[in-house]
Symmetry: C2
Subunit: 313 residues, 2 copies
């Protein structure tokens, strides 16, 4: 174990990859590693990058990463992909990207499957801890789509960036999904497409109405335009957060949320086990289907049994 932790701290890519796979496969058994590396975490700046498919997140992350490397920084990237039997393979296909660049210990990229119904998976946050402990200066967590994972990401990073493109109503979708207000910086990518300036104005107006301050900037990821500005905005945001003591408040909130996440998922595991035991549930379902008994009665009984089970431990 000690050797393992040592290797991670030295940034050994194979060891990092192995540990993340372990985390991905089996939350439970990886706790010991996570506990061991825990004292070495907390140094990396964690950035969340989110937005609908096709907005250009990957390109922006690539360009941002190159910029950071040129500044002498190292970067870890975790890309959360929704799992689909139809497209799973294809989605992961375009992730090879930067790992081709042979940047040695400067960049580590990893795709992880976004578990259905779990939002920003606990496992992705654990993987970010590994990258943090491995000495990466920045850890970027990328999520795809408009939905829960995008809203959630803001709770788990130091700075959240929303990437939109002027086309296809991304802006309206984002407003509807309620993810504007959880973003710290909003990037309108593909600035050369029609509607970019207009979308920027609309978003600034929406924020003015809400009273929250936010940076809204234009980029052109493919041409690399606006990336330095974005980097500057990120640095300024972090600096300001630190001066105003909000950086640490936010990190404490993250810790709180992560504890809850661990507690809930462990208890859920336990209850699932309990519920599958002795076909208790099957019998209940039968009775409920025949309207003999309500779901609320069944739930109460299961909770009582679960807590009684705790008694005998």
């Amino acid at each position: 174990m000690k050797e393992r932790v040592e290797k991670i701290r030295e940034g050994d890519e194979r060891e990092i990859a192995k540990c993340i796979s372990l985390i991905e496969k089996n939350g439970g058994d990886s706790y010991s590693i996570l506990k061991e590396i825990f004292p070495y975490t907390g140094n990396a700046i964690r950035i969340g990058i989110t937005g609908p498919p096709g907005a250009g997140k990957s390109t922006i992350i690539d360009k941002l990463t190159l910029l950071l490397i040129n500044k002498g920084k190292s970067v870890g990237i975790i890309a959360l992909d929704p799992v689909s039997p139809f497209s799973g393979g294809a989605l992961l296909g375009d992730r090879v990207r930067m790992s081709d660049l042979n940047l040695e210990n400067k960049v580590f990229i990893r795709s992880m499957a976004l578990r259905e119904g779990k939002g920003v998976s606990r496992f992705a946050l654990d993987a970010a801890d590994i990258l943090d402990a491995s000495g990466k200066d920045y850890v970027i967590i990328e999520t795809v789509g408009i939905g829960q994972s995008e809203i959630e990401i803001a709770y788990f990073t130091d700075c959240t960036i929303l990437v939109l493109s002027p086309e296809s109503g991304d802006g309206i979708q984002a407003m509807k999904a309620g993810i504007l207000e959880t973003s710290d910086i909003i990037v309108i990518n593909k600035s050369d497409r029609p509607g970019a300036e207009e979308l920027k104005k609309d978003i600034i107006l929406a924020f003015n109405l809400s009273g929250k301050e936010v940076d809204v900037i234009l980029t052109n990821g493919l041409k690399g335009e606006g990336i330095e500005n974005l980097m500057e905005k990120i640095e300024n945001f972090i600096k300001k957060q630190k001066i105003e003591n909000r950086f640490f408040q936010r990190r404490k909130k993250v810790i709180k949320e992560r504890i809850k996440k661990i507690v809930f998922s462990k208890i859920e595991e336990e209850i699932e086990k309990e519920m599958d035991k002795d076909f208790i549930l099957e019998k209940m379902v039968e009775d409920i289907y025949n309207l003999k008994y309500s779901m609320y009665d069944a739930a109460n009984e299961i909770i009582k049994n679960f807590l009684m089970g705790g008694k005998n431990e």
Copy 2:
């Protein structure tokens, strides 16, 4: 209470609205009503309608509802809206629609806020029970967006319909989000727009590859085209499910999932209370932030305390 249940069974709109509000506000206190009405549920066919914003779900639901009413059926509609401080009002704005039509006891429409991180809210399912007990022949649950709520809805209805439009890459988004395979009928709306036929072919191809059978149909909601075909497909789907005994299997699965949902949300409530007690969590967070102690240790301690608490009850 008896009078209340009686009124709901008679389809009293004010009573139904009051009960749903109670459910929305306070899961706990509404259990007694839900338990009372439970024996009168199970008759309505539950249809889930999902898809990205702008695909035309509302129009299709309106037209489908009118068709059902003309056939002498009654319909309850629950529209789940994501909550956003920016757009909340506007989103709900266009829901007045059918309730204007003065269709008396034939239609009941209700918007509910989609609770962050809860997927298809337990409360929406409870509201569907109220509408079911009130004698509605069909209960339609509408969700917006591409994400967890769309995947989840399939688990809680008798038939799930995905509405896409040919524009703005809806099809690709849907494939990426993994919601194609949880749909029973796929509607490509705005059939007069370019790419409609192509999208249909792509989706059929994707399903052929996966081996799952599905109906993919074109509609034009605004013109009312294809709605009768959609209704026919729904009826055939339900009929086939019943003949092959899958209808009841699916309902039993729904019951199982709903029990789990009730159990988890009750236990989460309890744990949240436990965690907020005596500032236990605050102290833990402080220690974790100072790297004295890991989140995994904290989680274990909380679980132990929670189960010990159960001991003393």
